[in-house]
């Protein structure tokens, strides 16, 4: 009975909750609220966010958060494979929109943020990661970008600030000959972005839990394969494992 419940809950998580959650991120990631008219503004993901999403997906695969080879297999029913591929698609677009929500819309800061995202994600491709560390790294990355865009930059360009703040904003604009020009959105945009990023990270955490719940099966497979080795090969494997530097 508990096995049935487990597989049912797992199916609910994989095929309903997670895709719905990531699609909600895809919906809200490009939503801004106009400061003047309070109207919705939908910002489609710029091309650079798709590139960032590809790098993020590669990182998730490398960090073991997405196990493509275990979720899409020839021995699975076609519907299961389609549902898993669909989930990967939703994660990809959620990632693109999560980047979209923390990237400034235009100007020099847009390219600066994009460059730092690219730099960080590219560097991370060559680091050793597990799912937990990867999650921490992604949370810090988005958290920092959120603080920079919605707290620091927004307050600098805010028309409601004091004269010192407005003077600093105007000076910055003047020094950079208007290249730092950024649209001003209503405060509620920051709340929407916060909620979007929280959902995105929550989705990734749920995904990590789903991966971890599979680990006993993976361990069993590994132990089974280990037992099929000869004595000399087992010794070599043990030495290799013990030689691995501790993180």
């Amino acid at each position: 009975m508990s096995q049935t419940n487990r597989s049912r809950n797992r199916a609910l998580m994989d095929f309903v909750v997670l895709p719905f959650l990531f699609l909600t991120v895809a919906l809200l990631g490009g939503l801004r609220i106009s400061a003047e008219s309070r109207a919705f503004i939908f910002v489609a993901p710029p091309l650079v966010t798709l590139l960032l999403a590809v790098l993020a997906m590669l990182l998730f695969v490398r960090g073991g958060l997405l196990r493509f080879h275990e979720w899409v297999r020839s021995d699975f029913p076609p519907l299961t494979n389609v549902a898993h591929i669909w989930m990967f698609v939703t994660i990809f677009f959620a990632s693109a929109q999560a980047f979209n929500s923390v990237l400034p819309e235009r100007g020099l800061f847009h390219w600066l943020f994009a460059f730092f995202f690219l730099w960080t994600l590219w560097n991370n491709q060559f680091s050793s990661f597990d799912a937990r560390r990867l999650l921490r790294s992604v949370t810090i990355l988005f958290g920092t970008a959120f603080v920079l865009k919605y707290l620091l930059l927004a307050s600098l360009y805010s028309s409601e600030g004091g004269w010192l703040k407005r003077l600093a904003g105007t000076l910055l604009q003047g020094i950079t000959v208007g290249t730092l020009d950024a649209p001003i959105f209503a405060t509620v945009t920051g709340y929407i972005a916060f909620f979007t990023l929280a959902l995105y990270v929550a989705g990734l955490i749920l995904l990590a839990f789903a991966v971890n719940s599979e680990s006993p099966a993976v361990t069993q497979t590994l132990v089974g394969e280990y037992r099929q080795l000869s004595a000399a090969e087992r010794l070599a494997v043990r030495e290799a494992i013990l030689d691995e530097p501790r993180d």
């Binding site: 994989d14 490009g30 919705f40 299961t80």
Partner: protein, 166 residues
């Protein structure tokens, strides 16, 4: 079996949600009201508010063109009704028409509105049976507006003050 049902339902539900998101980003509604209007258009249940349409028509007949256009825009917020768009274009024409010169800005907006009307009635030529109008088809109205935007030597003809508004 239950897992299979969950897979099917989940896939169907999330694909529908994804289609909704794509539709939102394509149509870019600015308010919740525009979202519901757009949904009505997509579902084929959209209808012009007849009460507001009639009120606008009465304003139009009293030569309150700007107020009439505002009312028609409220009656047809999604700009999906060919008849309403024709009347809006006609209101631009009548307001922009002058014995000495035509208001180019109003005529341009009139052309946009009549083009919308023509596009919405692509299956058959749009004609309006209204005895108060002198132009009954969208094609004629478009020609009239286009001619008003053209610059020709006949513009300097002093006899043009004798022409009449349609």
């Amino acid at each position: 079996m239950q897992v299979r049902i969950i897979q099917l339902v989940g896939l169907g539900f999330t694909i529908a949600f994804a289609a909704f998101i794509i539709w939102i980003y394509v149509t870019e509604p600015r308010t919740f009201k525009e979202v519901t209007t757009g949904a009505e258009v997509a579902a084929g249940t959209y209808e012009v508010n007849q009460e507001e349409f009639n009120f606008a028509l009465s304003l139009f007949r009293r030569e309150q063109f700007r107020a009439a256009r505002d009312e028609w825009q409220r009656a047809d917020p999604a700009q999906r009704d060919a008849r309403t768009q024709f009347y809006i274009a006609y209101a631009f024409y009548r307001e922009g028409w002058g014995r000495v010169y035509f208001d180019q800005e109003l005529f341009k907006q009139g052309v946009e509105a009549v083009n919308r009307a023509i596009a919405l009635s692509s299956t058959s030529p749009l004609t309006i049976d209204d005895p108060d109008l002198q132009i009954h088809s969208a094609a004629e109205l478009k020609v009239e507006l286009d001619q008003g935007l053209e610059r020709t030597w006949s513009d300097v003809n002093p006899l043009k003050v004798l022409r009449t508004r349609k």
